[in-house]
Symmetry: D3
Subunit: 339 residues, 6 copies
């Protein structure tokens, strides 16, 4: 099975250690973005995956592509052109100091690409699964249209569509998000919804916004998951990560998978994280891997939450862990399993 | 309102990460000192502040000044001259390994400055608040005299005097400290006393020296605060930080503000710190800001302890956070409020 | 005398050593731009100078401002607002490998500022000299208008206007440049023209484009300088840097100053450079200093070319050298004087 | 008293921070190995100690030796020759992500040394204590023979033999280990056995392999210690470290010393570690120091476990702490003593 | 056209800047080897190329592969297995201090691979050109046999064979080299011979070993090139790089290409290099590119020597430059063309 | 033969690359000083050498000692005590930008040591050669006395005394230097005098101060050398380094050795240096090695100047090269020999 992921690739500029941008004269440069992160997860897990985006044909754009290719992702379907690669600045928080992300992604080559530049019949040839997150249609109107085109193509060619709702308040309003995602949900087969995504992307209540008490609201979460399937009949499965976060680093993490009318709950992992970026993408990547490999639902959710929690101990955007490492953590007594 | 802070500016040489000096072939160079740290806090919070010191007119001295100016502090009243900038070497500890500070500040340009080099009538022109910490008079006899001259000038010109007692056993004995600070207290309007400062600087018992149980001794602290006001009638307010420290990084922090005959207690923050240097200065800076802006006492102490605890997640000496960030932490549920 | 410089401030992202962007996972972050560089030169030389620009009111914008303020430049007249700070990526070349600069400065806060945001009557109050380079009007139409407004104000208030033509082919065409600069020249009192600037900015032939033989064309250069003064009567003086560059690092450098109808030529410096960025701005800053201090024309050009050549041994955009250091190099036998 | 330690010295290549080898383009280079670590501990504690090994006579081998000599260890008895220095690659784990060690030590100069290259009558002249760990005989058959030769020499010359069993599954099987160590135990006077060493090296059951519950099994540990003394009459004392590890960093640590038919138990230290490498060697080094200085058994075990726990806050292989620092931690209230 | 290159991939550990291994506590880690370098050159130039080797299936081996893949080389034909990746330590020299390379490549996965592990019918399917250097058969007897097998396959399937003789005195003797290479030459279509390769690999005199006077011996070089074609009739073309090296960095470089009975000589480039590693491989890669694209012989040699000289300004093993950059240098006046 | 060197050991704080102190937030920390540098040279060359100084008994002092010990120098005769280690800040210049050294060495443990703390009968027991440079008596009056005591002891015990005059204008005046060195010369057997040392330390004219033309003044140098031997009959030999320096890095270097009434001149080395610190100490160390090993005078001076020139390509204070490396450079054609 071959997976295609579609979204924007960004340059990430992180200050060293916990320095503020006001203090630092160096940036660690890495590359990432929800859909590239998912693609690298799949490649690290041994699956065939292509990442589709548009980057400028200059050294920053090519360096970004090379970094994705380095981990084994096929980049031959990427468009080259436009003038700039989007950027996000990253200050790592700790304890009560929140992590800070500053976007500089407007006017990027991807955001300014026209919908018709993406030839879906070629891009999606011989593809079995199409993945994107809610970040992608939020990038620009033309990219929103490109997603719509892709989903129509997928529907016609029996390509499974998976979407992580991934609401970003810095990119669009809840009104716009609900309008767009509400429409796109009609073509989505499997949806991932975390935290505020239910409300912000779909207008469905599931979580009151208190990150310290996500797991405690498991019942409303389940109601929200059921409501998604009820409202969007094409969407047969929903997965969510629930968290009780005590500080920037300390929290409990669990996954729920609603599929075939049943709920599958993972154990709760209590962890202290190194870097929270990309944990959701690691969850999505692992869940796609579970689908590609045909894992049972319970194993799928256990595997996915473990991969997600592993990412908390990996620096940069990509979840550089392989399947054997995830399975070993699932089995070992070293994990702190509660509940 | 304009604030002037007066004290020594030091070069700080820190080994990378947690390396010992015996292991390291690099030092991270930053600059700081109690009163420069307070000045930067004020500038970051949007207040007008001048820092007064003496540094040698060579590149190390000027680099130190530039670093303070970078954050918006006025340095036009600084004296240039003398031959060396004081240094402190810094090894960061962790858990049971204590942080280690090694002073190399003797014979510095500041320590060797004569009292009369500081023309207080010019330095304190149009100034509303004068701040120094107990470190300053401990530097040398001539600097002690300079402080005395400044305080007399302040008294005559209705300039509010704020002092953090800040006892340093590596710089003077308790006998000397008590003699000097006991005299200076007569000109101080607001005093900050933490931990052993009560005993070492003023000979007043408030704390038994067990850092694991500071908050538990809140009652004797309050007695000590009252005793200060009783003994030094010019000093109408006292603020203190109380801590229960479990390891080098883990502890509970709270602030008390005794003002107008009433105690105002902040919530307790339970945090794991990145770097403890300058937390007291961040507290002092925030308290000065509260005075400049006319915060109510309860808001003042809540704001000050939050600023202080934020500093625990900021590297180097300066508390590089702005007012909005502190207010956001005060409101958010992400803080761990106990008691 | 007070100088104001007006232009864009950029984040510069340089790979370490000579790494290509394709190879590097770190960027050295510094800040610069022609007019901020000139401002820092003046401040390092002991002059009063304000830098005027617009930066976004977020950490990258403020970090840029702080860096300029660190060196003593007044930044109180800077506008805050807009969304992004322009960037330039920088790969350092060597020998036959050219240095590579990649701009990502479109849509910056400065480029998108409206002309009327700059209140010249306030910005230029009590100012004696106004400086900008040809980069500034190339930024956008609104900034071009802001420059025009400033020059009109200067003319009316007897403020000396100095401009480095500084043609940048990546920012505008020669047609556009000639049209705009041709008009602005009518308000410029002193102009700096280097290499291709004569032709590209003003359509005046002076140099055939062969960087290996700039000094060899000194006669056509002189003709060009005379032609500028003839064509634009308000412009009474012209200064130029002439170079014979053998490799990226090796070359001969000299300055010519045409003033009062006479040519003043500096000695030729044969040097191997560390980093060529900002050498022209260092020349401009030193020439402004010479004007502020009333140097004789011969000393002015000797001082300016020495400052410019010193910059070749200083990393980053700013020429962090003081007057004493430049004078020492002018006197010492260690300089390689030829011709 | 003079101590000799005998074993392999390795180049350690660690990725910066928590980077995976797949992500990193830099390695921090340090040097270590169980017996060199013990030697450095002794030297830091003020004892006379020589380290014996064989390293290639090229820059990597000499750099390794220099690093040991830097800390005051005598290296004049080291053999030079052979072609390569063994290496271990090191990825630091965190929380649920295990630390990863990858050996590249086969075919090293030490492993390929012949037993007769070591002239024990010269090496052990005027020596009082000989130390090696179970890693040494696991290196190769010839080194195993060298150990045997050394022990015979020690027996004949009344040199005390101390061994940390230190089982390494990546170097030999339990069958081979039990065969070899079972024989060598007849010449060992004091043995250190931790965790799985009892079972893997000697076939004695003491611990069920669950690192989360080592201290909880103190009774079977004690049985195992007694069984060692019973089975190997020459071995009169046994020391062990017991741990309850909750995550990679968090755990409880205690030491037991069985000597003269009595058990001496240290307090339990609850700590969060920075780097776990070498904690066992720090324990061994401190215990040897206690023997050299004639500490009472209770003080010996308290001192040794404190030294071991201190190492958890020190980077690299060597325990760069002195005696005063360890004694201070033993006395202070800052340590978390439980049980 | 598709190219396959076959050889060993090594981890390169370089000290920062010019530090000696005795001084450094960090290594810059990169990956390279003659044939991987050639493969990356081809990929950067836009050609289809596969690199074939064997690396251990652990993180160091995979990191090496990823680095090659990052630049677009196909690595799907690489064998995984064995236990270690070969290493070379690298100290960069300067001026009179020679660069120092220390091999630690014995017993590597590649060296210990059996000849029959390489299934040439699969590896060379649809391949047009096979490239290896003289380093490959020097690795081990089994790899020498693998090369022989490959060449026989190529002969039978009309695959062009290109070889850079690349003699390495640290890997084999001239006797062994001449015996092996003498036989392999019968299957080689195009051979690159530099400096001492003529004598050491083939026993043909062309160069007296004085690196300061390579170009000065152009006539004996030409005789040597003719002798190769005479002695090995299958080898129809020979290319060489000639150098006059004055210091470690300063020298003159030119290329000669003997093809179709004619000599084609490039201009001489006089350059100061940053890093000399891989310049020969850059020459070979560019020459292969010239063959793939059907460049005329004169353009082929001019292009190849320019690519080689460009590599002198690029850090690490790979020549990270594209075709447009090379062509620009060939045209520009910035190059120093002599002779 | 055993050599003792006596002098101050300093912490050297160097900015990275060519950064100015005003620009840098990191210092590279290394340790050095004329006499420690000579000691390390001797140890690297295989000789027995002890370094004698006084350093504070805290981590900075011990780190300095460890660094010397690391290279094999005996440090067992060093005094511990006092409060601070002297420092020098170092900015590396290039081309016309001079290297800048800023001393912060006043009030160091060494400078404040009393003469009688050095027990010369113990320190110089079994010693054959005593070395110091003119820096040592310039440190303080008490150290000047300690040197005098040592020389008297040497005279009485037939210990050869070698001194590099090493005048430092930042430490004393020429008057003071001439008075002190003039007296000490009566006990010195072999003296090294470079550049301005003749005039500044002894009042003998040999060089006009123009560093661009040192070698050109070889005749007056020779007169100066003869004058030294004439004036101080105990001093039977004089060695000098002559230089024509064109830029900070480019120059010609040669050595002259006047011994037994004859002059021995080395070839001239034309080099481009990486770092000029310690080249004189490398010369002195190599000359001492030549004496220890009994080299003929011509070989002695050739060897010494080669070692000195090698140091120009080695970073930090110590000349980390061995004898084989120096001999190889002396023989190879890679060196640029002129004259």
């Amino acid at each position: 099975m071959r997976v295609v992921t579609f979204g924007e690739l960004l340059l990430r500029l992180k200050t060293p250690e916990y320095l503020r941008i006001l203090q630092s004269d160096t940036f660690e440069a890495s590359y990432g973005g929800a859909e590239s992160n998912v693609a690298v997860s799949l490649s690290m897990l041994g699956d065939e995956v292509s990442f589709v985006t548009k980057v400028p044909d200059q050294s920053v754009g090519l360096a970004a592509l090379n970094e994705v290719r380095r981990y084994g992702v096929d980049t031959s379907r990427v468009l080259l052109g436009g003038s700039r690669l989007g950027i996000y600045y990253f200050e790592k928080g700790s304890n009560i100091r929140p992590t800070s992300v500053l976007y500089d992604r407007e006017y990027s080559a991807f955001a300014m690409a026209e919908a018709q530049e993406f030839s879906w019949d070629q891009i999606l040839k011989d593809v079995d699964i199409f993945y994107f997150s809610g970040v992608t249609p939020a990038v620009s109107d033309s990219i929103e249209q490109a997603v719509r085109d892709a989903l129509i193509y997928c529907r016609e060619h029996f390509i499974l569509v998976v979407c992580d709702l991934n609401y970003r308040s810095k990119m669009w309003t809840t009104e716009k998000a609900q309008k767009v995602m509400g429409e796109l949900m009609n073509w989505i087969d499997l949806c991932i919804a975390n935290d505020e995504d239910f409300e912000s992307s779909l207008g469905i209540h599931a979580f009151d916004g208190d990150m310290a008490h996500g797991i405690d609201q498991i019942d409303t979460y389940k109601e929200g998951m059921k409501e998604i399937v009820r409202r969007y009949p094409n969407c047969k499965s929903v997965a969510s990560v629930l968290r009780n976060m005590r500080t920037v680093e300390d929290g409990d993490w669990m996954g729920i998978y609603y599929s075939g009318g049943r709920f599958y709950e993972s154990p709760v992992h209590t962890v202290h994280s190194l870097e929270a970026v990309g944990a959701g993408d690691a969850f999505a990547g692992a869940l796609l891997h579970a689908i590609v490999r045909g894992f049972e639902p319970q194993k799928a959710i256990d595997f996915s939450i473990t991969a997600s929690v592993m990412k908390l101990m990996i620096q940069h955007d990509f979840n550089v862990v392989n399947e054997a490492e995830i399975l070993r953590i699932m089995k070992t007594k070293d994990v702190n399993l509660q509940r």
